[in-house]
């Protein structure tokens, strides 16, 4: 059974529907990139998958024993966070909050999990540093470590590389690929189609026409070909 299955999903806000008849499924171990133009409904889809807003129609089914508490989320940074006085450790361990339920304090297991994930992302030596003093790439690693505290199964990433330079972007993509290799399912919203085609196993392209399928079949599809032509002509200029 699929981890997430969307059935004739319709998305939108109060004043209208942006996307409808969306069908796709994500299986354990997949690396799905959601691409599309600005305003095509990528973010709305992501917020719906996260349960932050309700679908306008259709439904999303969580399967394979996935519960809402096991979804890790890497959001885009907000203005509030940029000058937030918090140490890296405080932020990473806050990813364990959903496990705590009503228990007021973190237990040893959760503290261990935070340490493990900081190590996994190479930020252990930053653990006492203040979040607002870090570089953009370091901040993304911190938020990724926090997301890993919340999940062992599924990560949903919202434009993880926006605002990062080329080198840091490549590093972050490598980290995400490694996490995928370790068995974590990835759903990434991105407008970086080149990277999507390079790393993802599946592509969901939303816009006037909807495409969902494996990366290879995307490259064969009309949208994929259009994209490749655009890339090619960019390269020639």
């Amino acid at each position: 059974m699929a981890l997430i299955k969307a059935e004739s999903l319709a998305l939108g806000y109060d004043n209208g529907i942006i996307v409808k008849d969306l069908d796709f499924e994500v299986n354990a171990g997949d690396y799905l990139c959601i691409v599309g133009e600005n305003g095509s409904g990528k973010s709305t889809l992501m917020r719906t998958l996260l349960g932050l807003q309700n679908p306008k129609g259709g439904r999303i089914i969580l399967g394979d024993g996935l519960t809402k508490k096991e979804i890790g989320y890497l959001p885009q940074q907000t203005q509030v966070q940029k000058d937030f006085p918090a140490s890296v450790r405080e932020i990473v361990i806050s990813g364990c909050q959903a496990r705590c339920g009503l228990r007021p304090f973190y237990n040893r297991e959760e503290k261990g999990l935070a340490e493990k994930n900081m190590e996994r992302l190479g930020i252990t030596d930053l653990s006492a540093r203040s979040y607002r003093e870090l570089s953009g790439g370091q901040q993304q690693r911190v938020l990724l470590a926090r997301a890993l505290c919340a999940t062992q199964k599924l990560l949903i990433l919202d434009e993880p590389v926006s605002g990062l330079d080329v080198k840091v972007t490549a590093e972050l993509y490598t980290i995400i690929k490694e996490l995928n290799h370790d068995g974590i399912t990835i759903i990434m919203v991105s407008h970086d189609i080149a990277a999507a085609v390079k790393y993802a196993s599946h592509i969901l392209h939303i816009g006037d026409q909807i495409f969902f399928g494996t990366r290879d079949s995307y490259l064969e599809s009309r949208q994929g070909k259009l994209f490749l032509e655009a890339e090619g002509s960019d390269g020639n200029e």
Binding site: D14, K68, Y73, P85, A86, S87, E90, C100, S130
Partner: protein
């Protein structure tokens, strides 16, 4: 006046129970208000204290006109409901946070004064209004029951804060992440709203409804100049707030200045000192 006689004067004053009550209540209120201050400043809700206290002022005016035996029965529920409405953030709210606060704040202030003016039976209306707005002497006229109520509420607020500290941090830092990972963010926001309303109603006795914001935000802002992680900022803010309240109370008792504005004055001075210290010790802080 030399030091010895100042201390002598203080000791004389401390023999009056109402002075001791004022100091106990003042310190407790300062402690409570500083706890949530950090969260409110970071959530960009610095002015909620202002808004809510004006609502409380309006409610108090109505309660006075209705001749209720105890104003609290009306003031507390009205303030709690307003707090919940104001902190109910979300994308679908038509009027954004700051505008909503400004609207409710000014509206309630005008409405309260209007009601007091039309229906008041008191001979000294402007005196009444002034003491509600600036706290004036009401903290020096507390009776034993009021002090116990204040102690009980402060203990409850502090315990709630400690028990929910980690959750408040998570929700303040990133509400969407918390919601997405299955944390009951709505519930914790509600809790924050209720607690802040209780604190404001308590603090009206101390500094009056115009200066409450100062009590909530100054210690938090000062602490943020000095420390860079949430726990230190929270602890420092609580300590600064208590010290400032104590100093302000003592100065106002000795010099006969208004309690509320003296405490806020001390808070401002401490903020300036912290700001300068922050500049000297770490240039990186914005």
């Amino acid at each position: 006046m030399n030091n010895a006689s100042l201390i002598g004067k203080l000791i004389t004053y401390l023999q009056y129970p109402f002075v001791r009550y004022a100091i106990i209540v003042g310190v407790l209120i300062a402690l409570c208000s500083s706890l949530l201050g950090v969260t409110l400043v970071l959530k960009r809700f610095s002015f909620i204290g202002d808004g809510l206290s004006h609502v409380a002022f309006g409610a108090m005016a109505i309660a006075t006109v209705l001749n209720l035996t105890d104003n609290m029965y009306l003031v507390l529920p009205v303030t709690v409901v307003s707090a919940i409405l104001l902190l109910r953030t979300g994308q679908n709210t038509r009027i954004k946070g700051d505008a909503a606060i400004a609207m409710i704040s000014v509206g309630a202030l005008a409405f309260g004064y209007l009601i007091m003016n039309i229906f008041s039976t008191s001979s000294n209306l402007s005196g009444d209004v002034c003491s509600t707005l600036f706290g004036a002497t009401s903290i020096l006229t507390l009776n034993k029951t009021e002090v116990w109520i204040c102690i009980a509420l402060s203990v409850i607020v502090t315990i709630i804060f400690i028990l929910f500290y980690n959750k408040i941090f998570a929700v303040t830092f990133d509400e969407d992440f918390s919601k997405a990972s299955g944390v009951n963010a709505k519930g914790y926001n509600l809790l924050i709203a209720v607690v802040i309303a209780v604190i404001i109603v308590l603090a009206m006795n101390l500094v009056g409804s115009l200066l409450i914001s100062a009590l909530i935000i100054f210690p938090a802002l000062s602490a943020m100049r000095l420390f860079k992680n949430f726990k230190s900022v929270t602890i420092c803010s609580a300590i600064l707030s208590v010290v400032c309240a104590l100093a302000g109370l003592i100065v106002s008792i000795l010099a006969g200045t208004p309690v509320g504005s003296t405490i806020v004055g001390v808070d401002v001075v401490v903020f300036v000192v912290c700001y300068l210290l922050g500049k000297v010790t770490g240039g990186k802080r914005a």
